[in-house]
Amino acid sequence: MEDKKKWVAIFGFSAIALIFSVAAIYTPWWRVTTTREEEIMNNRTISSGYWLSQKVYASENSKVGLTWHDKHAVYLSGNNVTFRLPNNNTKIEIEAYWVTRQRGNQSYTSFLFSGVWHDFWTGYHRQNLTTLDDEEEITENMVIRAWKSLEGYSEIDMKCDFGTFHIFWTYNSTEHSNLRDAWKKGELHAEIGCSTVAFAVPLEDMPASNEDKNALKSLCTITLDTLATGVAFNALAIALTLTSFIRKKLYTVAKYAAIISAILLLIAAIYFSYGFIPIISKFESVTPTTLCILPGKQISSMWGEIEMSSGLQQWLWGPAFGWYLAFTAFLLNAATFILICIIGKTRR
C-alpha cells in the first residue's frame, strides 16, 4: 500500500511535468500587453505573444460602454467618441438591434451590430466588414442561441481577410424588462464590445531586418529543439516509472531520465530569456504594425513596463505562460528526481 502511494506520487510529478512541458510548445513564451489600467481607462487591450513556432499571435479587445439611450437609439461611448445606434446620417454606419428576453425572473437584452464597420476607437483597422450586413443573417434565433450557450454573455465570430473579428456583448438588467426603467434606477450594468482576436503574423512579416528575424528564428528553433528533447526524456522517465511497477530497479534509471529532462527544460528557459531581448530590442515594433507600433528599443529586459504620465502602467511585458510552464516542468522533474532519491534512501 505504502509502495503504491509512493509510486503514484512519482508518476504524478512526472505526468504533470510532461503535460506542462508539452503545453509549453503550444503556448507563447514572451508577451507584451497593455495593462488593466489601460483597459479600464481607455477601453482597449492589445496583446502580442511570441511562440516557439515562429509566429506572433496578436489580439485587440476594445470595449464600448453604454452611456445613454432614448426611444429610438442607444448611445455608446468608447475612447472619447460617443455615437448613436442606429445611425443613418453620419459616417459611422452601424446599426444595432436589441432584443429583450425574459429568462426566469430576469430579463436580458441582447445587442447585435450590423452594417459597415469603421473602427471608431483606435483607427487601426480601416477594413469594411460587411459579413453581418445581411438582414436575414440577423435573426432572433441567432440571438437566442447565443444566450443559451453563454448565459449573460454572447459572442459571434466574423472571418475577414486579416483574422477573426470577434463581437461580444453582455447585458443584463436585474429586475426590469424595460431598459429605460432599469437605466433610470441605476440597476443597469452593461458592457458592449468588439474585439479582434487571434490573428497570427509569421516572424517573416514582423517589422525588423532580415538579420534580426533570422536570429530570432534560430533562437526559437534551438529553444524548441532543447524543449522537445526535454519532453522526450520526460516521457522516458514516465515510461520507466510505469515499468518500474513490475521491475523495481528501473526506478534508478527513471530518476536519471527525470534529471536530464529537468536540466534540458531549464536550459531551454534560460537560453530563451538571455537570447530573446538583445534580438527583439532591434525590432522596429514588437507588436504587429496592424495593431500599433511599440518600438523594440523600449524593451531592455525580459520583464518591464512603460508608464503613463499619471504613473500608472500602460504596457507590460515579460515571459508568457509557455516559458513559465517550461520552468515549472523543470521544477517538477527535479522534484521527481529528489523524490526517487529519498524513497531509495528510506528503502535502504
Binding site: E2, K5, K6, A9, G12, F13, R31, T33, T35, R36, E37, I40, M41, N43, G65, T174, G186, E187, H189, E191, M302, W303, E305, S310, G311, L312, L316, G318, A320, F321, Y324, F327, T328, L331, L332, A335, I338, L339, I342, I343, T346
Partner: protein
C-alpha cells in the same frame, strides 16, 4: 497519549498545496492578479457616486508582486510546497520540518492568491496539526482551535480539566488576535486610503487593480490587539468567576474558566479575511466589516455559552443566562468605562468597536439582560 497517524492533517495540507500550486499557475498565465468583481466598472467615480448597488471585488494575487521576476520565486515556492506536502503524505521522515515550511509557504502564498484562499487555510491548519503529530488530532493546538470553533463541548471540558493547557489558552488568545488585528488593520488602512486620498490614484489601484497598500503601522494593530485582548480575556474570566462562583455559588476554579474562555475566542480569528473584499460605499465602511464583525462575535458568544456550560457544569439555559449577564457587565466596563477613559487620555484603541447610544438604551438593555438571566435561573440554587 496515543500516537496518531498524521494522515488527515497531511491530506488536508496536500489538498491545500494543490490549490496553491493551481492558483499560482493561473496567476502566472494571466501575468497580473486575477480580480473577480460583482460587475465591471470603468472608473472609481462609478463606485463613489451614491445610490449604486453593491459592488465588491476579490483579488487573487497582490499587484506589484506577481508581474515581474518575482513570479519565478512564487512558482518555485508553490512547487516546493507541493513537494513537501507529498513528502508529508508519504511519511518519509519526521513531519515537523516539512510541516513548518508548509505553514510558512502557505502564508506567503497570499501574494499569489493563497490557493483561492482555501489552499492557504488548509495548508496552515493541516500542517499546524502535523506539527503536533505525536498527539491525537483534537489535542493539537489547531485541533483545539477548530474544536472550539465547532462548539465541541468535549474540547471545553478537556481544557477545563487539564491545567497544562493554560499556555495553549494564552497562545490561542495571542494567535487569534494577531489574525484579527492584521485583518482589521490592513482593511482600515486601505479603506482610509480609498476614502481620504487626495487623488483618485490610490482608490483606483485598490479597488480596480487589486493593489493592497501596506505600512508598518498596520503591524502595530495586531501588537496592540494582543495586549488589549489578554486584558479583556482576564476581565471577562474574572467577571464570570465572580458572578458565577461568588454570587451564584457555582463550583469552579478561576483558571479552569479562563482556559475555556480563551478557546471560545477562536471564531474572532476569521476577521483576518476582512481585507479580502473591498467594495463601494456605504458597504466599504459599514456593511462588510460590520457583517464579519457581527458574525464572528455572535459565533464567539455561542462558543462562550458552551465554554461556561462545561467549565461550571451548568444546563444550557443557565449558561446562556450567565453569559448574558456577565457579557453585559463586561461590555459596560470595557466599552463604557475603560475605553472612553483611555480615549480621553489620548490612547486610541485600534480596530472596529461596537458602540450603543443613547445611554438610556444601554441601561434598558442591561436591565433586560439581568431580568432574563434571573429568569433563566442563574441565581437558582441547585
Amino acid at each position: 497519549m496515543t500516537k496518531q497517524t498524521p494522515n488527515i492533517s497531511s491530506l488536508v495540507s496536500l489538498f491545500g498545496a494543490i490549490l496553491i500550486f493551481a492558483n499560482t499557475m493561473l496567476v502566472a498565465a494571466s501575468g497580473v492578479p486575477i480580480i473577480v468583481s460583482s460587475y465591471p466598472v470603468s472608473s472609481v467615480n462609478d463606485l463613489t457616486t451614491s445610490g449604486n448597488p453593491f459592488w465588491g471585488r476579490i483579488a487573487l494575487g497582490v499587484r506589484g508582486f506577481v508581474e515581474g521576476p518575482l513570479m519565478l520565486f512564487w512558482i518555485t515556492l508553490s512547487t516546493i510546497n507541493l513537494f513537501l506536502s507529498v513528502l508529508l503524505y508519504l511519511k518519509t521522515g519526521k513531519p515537523e520540518m516539512p510541516s513548518f515550511f508548509i505553514i510558512v509557504f502557505s502564508i506567503l502564498s497570499i501574494f499569489t492568491g493563497g490557493g483561492f484562499i482555501i489552499g492557504l487555510v488548509l495548508g496552515v491548519i493541516g500542517c499546524g496539526m502535523g506539527l503536533q503529530s505525536r498527539k491525537i488530532l483534537t489535542e493539537t493546538f489547531f485541533g483545539k482551535l477548530l474544536g472550539a470553533a465547532r462548539l465541541d463541548s468535549k474540547l471545553y471540558k478537556l481544557v477545563k480539566e487539564d491545567p497544562r493547557t493554560l499556555g495553549e489558552a494564552a497562545l490561542a488568545i495571542i494567535f487569534v488576535n494577531i489574525l484579527s488585528g492584521l485583518g482589521s488593520g490592513l482593511y482600515l488602512f486601505n479603506a482610509d486610503k480609498i476614502l481620504n486620498s487626495s487623488s483618485s490614484d490610490a482608490p483606483f489601484k485598490i479597488l480596480l487593480l487589486g493593489q493592497v497598500f501596506f505600512d508598518t503601522s498596520v503591524l502595530t494593530s495586531p501588537l496592540i490587539n494582543i495586549s488589549i485582548a489578554i486584558f479583556k480575556w482576564l476581565i471577562l474570566s474574572l467577571i464570570i468567576y465572580l458572578v458565577g462562583v461568588k454570587l451564584a455559588s457555582l463550583r469552579s476554579e478561576f483558571d479552569g474558566i479562563a482556559r475555556s474562555i480563551a478557546f471560545a475566542y477562536a471564531p474572532i480569528g476569521l476577521q483576518v479575511f476582512v481585507p479580502l473584499v473591498f467594495s463601494n460605499q456605504p458597504f466599504l465602511t459599514s456593511q462588510w466589516p460590520m457583517a464579519i464583525f457581527l458574525i464572528t462575535n455572535f459565533w464567539m458568544i455561542f462558543a462562550l455559552v458552551v465554554a461556561v456550560k462545561q467549565s461550571m457544569n451548568l444546563s444550557i439555559g443557565k449558561a446562556m443566562g450567565l453569559v448574558m449577564l456577565t457579557g453585559t457587565i463586561y461590555w459596560l466596563i470595557i466599552y463604557k468605562m475603560i475605553f472612553p477613559v483611555a480615549h480621553l487620555s489620548g490612547f486610541d484603541i485600534p480596530g472596529i468597536q461596537f458602540d450603543l447610544q443613547p445611554m438610556e438604551l444601554v441601561l434598558a438593555l442591561a436591565s433586560l439582560s439581568v431580568i432574563l438571566s434571573i429568569l433563566l435561573g442563574v441565581f437558582k440554587r441547585r
